[in-house]
């Protein structure tokens, strides 16, 4: 399981062959985190990836069987869309939804779990892939924080090359 770190620290883990788990602790009660995560007014303010992207479309029908759809646009006009269906909605602590990102990508089941303690919230995102191959292909295995040993070594290696 993931050991949560301090506020402001993002951790990655691959607890099983088909999962990727991302955690982050934020300094806010979970009802606000839930709000930020599920209100279409708020989501485009933060779920943007790197600089240069906006989210002109954010549709959220937050109920079991309801759909969500995000469209991102880059300043050069490039667009990306993602969508899915809610499978479980427990306010303000848990959201389970499917996610599909274009036909060549595998559909995943994402669980967002919010646990509050002393006014802070631990966000745990679990992304479940249909197979290990799908996960590794989509995420390229090396994304864990610190990466695995091989990648740590490669980092050193590239340091030497630079």
């Amino acid at each position: 399981m993931v050991t949560p770190g301090r506020v402001g620290e993002t951790t990655f883990a691959t607890p099983s062959d088909r999962e990727v788990v991302i955690t982050r602790i934020v300094d806010a009660p979970r009802r606000l985190v839930f709000e930020a995560w599920t209100n279409p007014e708020h989501v485009p303010q933060w779920l943007l990836g790197p600089e240069g992207w906006t989210m002109p479309v954010c549709e959220i029908d937050l109920r079991v069987g309801g759909t969500w759809r995000y469209v991102w646009r880059k300043d050069d006009g490039a667009e990306m869309a993602m969508s899915g269906i809610y499978r479980e909605v427990v306010r303000p602590e848990r959201i389970v939804s499917t996610e599909r990102w274009g036909p060549e990508w595998p559909e995943t089941v994402n669980t967002v779990q919010l646990v509050e303690a002393a006014g802070r919230t631990t966000i745990t995102i679990t992304v479940l892939y249909p197979s290990k191959e799908a996960r590794d292909m989509a995420l390229q295995t090396g994304m864990k924080e610190g990466m695995n040993q091989g990648f740590a070594r490669l980092d050193e290696l590239l340091g030497q090359l630079a």
Partner: protein
């Protein structure tokens, strides 16, 4: 839940790179080559392995575009080609950075929401 920012890479190329990197001997070979070109014999030395076994690993690395052969016809030294490694590492790092960026913006938003709540509380 994934961020919008993956740089797409040709997946067959990535597959070859990751498969090549999955083996500790091959990673050790790459680490050795990072310090300079080396012949097959020199590469085999630190490993308790036959030359054919090492050659097999070298073939995998070569196919992934991670190493190439030098000009010296006698020694045929292998040389590290770093571009694919760099690409893979950049790709993985970009994923991590995207989530960092998202969470940093989320932190700001949550602060705003908290402030708003506080104001509302005072107004009451």
């Amino acid at each position: 839940m994934r961020t919008a920012a993956y740089r797409r890479m040709p997946s067959d190329r990535l597959d070859a790179t990751f498969a090549a990197l999955a083996d500790p001997t091959r990673r050790a070979i790459l680490a050795r080559l990072a310090t300079g070109d080396a012949s097959v014999m020199e590469l085999a030395e630190p490993f308790d392995m036959s030359q054919p076994a090492i050659s097999k690993h070298l073939k995998v690395l070569e196919r992934a575009g991670l190493i190439s052969r030098g000009r010296d016809a006698q020694r045929r030294p292998r040389r590290l080609d770093a571009a694919p490694l760099r690409e893979v590492l950049e790709w993985a790092e970009a994923y991590r950075r995207n989530w960092e960026a998202n969470f940093e913006r989320l932190d700001d938003l949550l602060q705003q929401l908290k402030d708003k709540e506080k104001h509302r509380g005072h107004a009451r």
